[in-house]
């Protein structure tokens, strides 16, 4: 009697539904998280690729500019420019150079009042 009555009972099995719902949520959550994380990984990968590319381009541009500076400041180019602009620079003759010897006895090191008056006469 009891057994038959129990069989025809249409009571809602809350616990079972709850288990299914939770399991589904967990599975769905895990699935969505996986997709989300995969997507994030992809996005960060893309950002990384872009930044690496930018870094390489900047390094390359910097290298190109550095070499350009080297070329423009090379002796060959400077000599050409000097000749082209004819600045009129003349080498100083050997007899026009006066060498001042440093005294080793310590004398003459102190500051002295000097005058340039008559220097150009």
């Amino acid at each position: 009697m009891n057994r038959n009555r129990r069989n025809i009972t249409h009571s809602i099995k809350v616990a079972s539904i709850f288990k299914v719902v939770i399991s589904t949520i967990i599975l769905a959550g895990a699935g969505l998280s996986y997709v989300y994380l995969k997507n994030q990984l992809q996005q960060y990968g893309e950002i990384q690729r872009r930044l690496e590319h930018e870094l390489t381009e900047l390094r390359t541009a910097s290298e190109a500019v550095r070499v350009q500076i080297t070329q423009l400041s090379s002796r060959a180019v400077l000599e050409k420019k000097l000749a082209k602009n004819s600045l009129g620079l003349v080498p100083i003759a050997s007899d026009q150079i006066v060498r001042l010897n440093q005294r080793h006895d310590g004398l003459g090191d102190e500051l002295k009042v000097v005058s340039n008056r008559g220097f150009n006469q």
Binding site: L41, Q42, Y44, G45, E46, Q48, R49, T56, T60, A61, E63, A64, V67, T70, Q71, S74, R75, A76, V77, E79, P91, A93, S94, D95, Q96, V98, R99, L100, N101
Partner: protein, 592 residues
Amino acid sequence: MRWNAQARAVTVCFGLVGVFSVFSVRLIDLQIVQHEKFTMLAAEKHNHKQIIYARRGIIRDAHNEPLAENIPVKTVVADASHIRDPEALAAAIADKLEMDPRDLADKLSQSGKGSKHLVLKAEIPEQTAGKIRESLWTSNLRGIYFDQDFVRVYPNGQMLSQVIGFVDHDHKGTMGIERTMQEFLQGTDGFRYIETDRTGKELVPYRGQESPAKDGCDVKLTVDLGLQNIVESELEAACAEFKPKDATVIMMRPQTGEILAMASRPCFDPNRPGEAAPDQEKNRSVTDMVEPGSTFKIVTTSAVLEEKLVTPDTTVFCENGHFQYAGRILRDAHPMGVLTVHQILMKSSNIGVAKLALQLGELKLYEYVRRFGFGQRTGVTLSGEIPGLVNPPYRWSKLDITRIPMGQSIAVTPLQLVTAMSCIANGGKLMKPMIVSNITDPDGRPVANFTPETVRQVISAETARKITSALKDVVSKQGTAQKAGVPGFRVAGKTGTAQKVDPRGGYMSGRYVASFVGFMPADDPKFTLLVLLDDPTIKDELAFGGVVAGPVFARIAEKAARYLDLRPTEPIPLQPGANGLKKVALSARSRE
């Protein structure tokens, strides 16, 4: 059986089972049976090995001024599998690549038939690559990619070209320092395995094995570009004046063997190696040999003094310019009577030095020739060095004992000659010539340091001093190289005027190799300098080393002294000023 609901359900079920079974079989076939095949196909299409190029090392001078650099450039590559509209693509980039749009469109259309990747143009500047990228972006086109590459550039053009050398299309050094230091300069390329999507874009999360590139080491030379510039400009002027077949100048620091400057003519621009003739590419300092002429007299004189067979004051009769030996007559440029050993060197007497050699003997002369480094490679790190030509005594003719002392029947490289003179300047100690100072890694950490290397003590310091004394008088009014004098300094040196060897035998009439090799200041040498002009265009009576090469030596030495800020050791001769008045000349001695 009645076609009731149950039967229909069973049929549908069997149908579904059948369909899914077919799917399953196909899936098993794809995933398991043909797994390898499809993995390979996918990898071939989407996996690539990306090369990360190593930067070639920089070559610098003694003051870290760059001599060889790398300019980054791009190689334009078309990927046929990504090109949808070849005409539109060609129209967008043809002008930037300086190509005809129709030719380019044809090329792009054909590209899928052979190789998937097609190189459109190499060595395009970074700016052009940027413009092409922009153009593709705005036109929403794809299929064009850029590979990183570099072009080797030499900022100083022709200067030091034969010493530095150049690289080929594979970035391998083909001559000069580029070749000898290839192992250090080249670096090691890195790689990275990448996976791309269907548009060719890298999928970073699926990156595979990666090995970073190892950049090449930087090589620092002993060459001082300031001195090199002086040498090159004076050599150019000398070539314009005398129009020689070729010419060589080498400057060396005698105490260490460091090469401070080295130049040859004709030369070439290493930025355009394709335009250079083989003759222009030769570094004559090490690849050519010449009969040294009278500059070689320092060897014989050093030998007899070192062996104490004579003293500088020992007299020798120079036969009044006419000496018969082994059936042949040996002559002096000017008839001379009795000369001391000192004067033999000073006045460059062929007969005098031949008699000294006869006194020395064949074996001893040969021994000293070899001890001075002739007949063997110096070991300098330059490509193509030859040992010169020194025959052993058993191959000498009877005449050779009188010809070798005056620099005939023997062939030496200009580098050997300047090294031998440096030996005299360095108190008889022969140094190994060096041109590479050190090698550093890209972070500046030392990889190798080259230190001066003594080869041997050839003659005693005392003998070297005696020879120097005679060489100082060579550059005097009584000597053969008055024009090699430098105001304010004592110069020691030796002239050489060698008749050119005729390939058909004998010597060519009226064609000479004029040279001067010396050091300065004579008593405390800061540099040894060789000036050698092969076949200068000048009147026969003026074709002497002292007249042709001597003044070139003087001009270079004077400018070098100024550049090195050398203190004058002698009174500087008075020169008329611009206003016609004599200016006061101050010597170091008078100021102290």
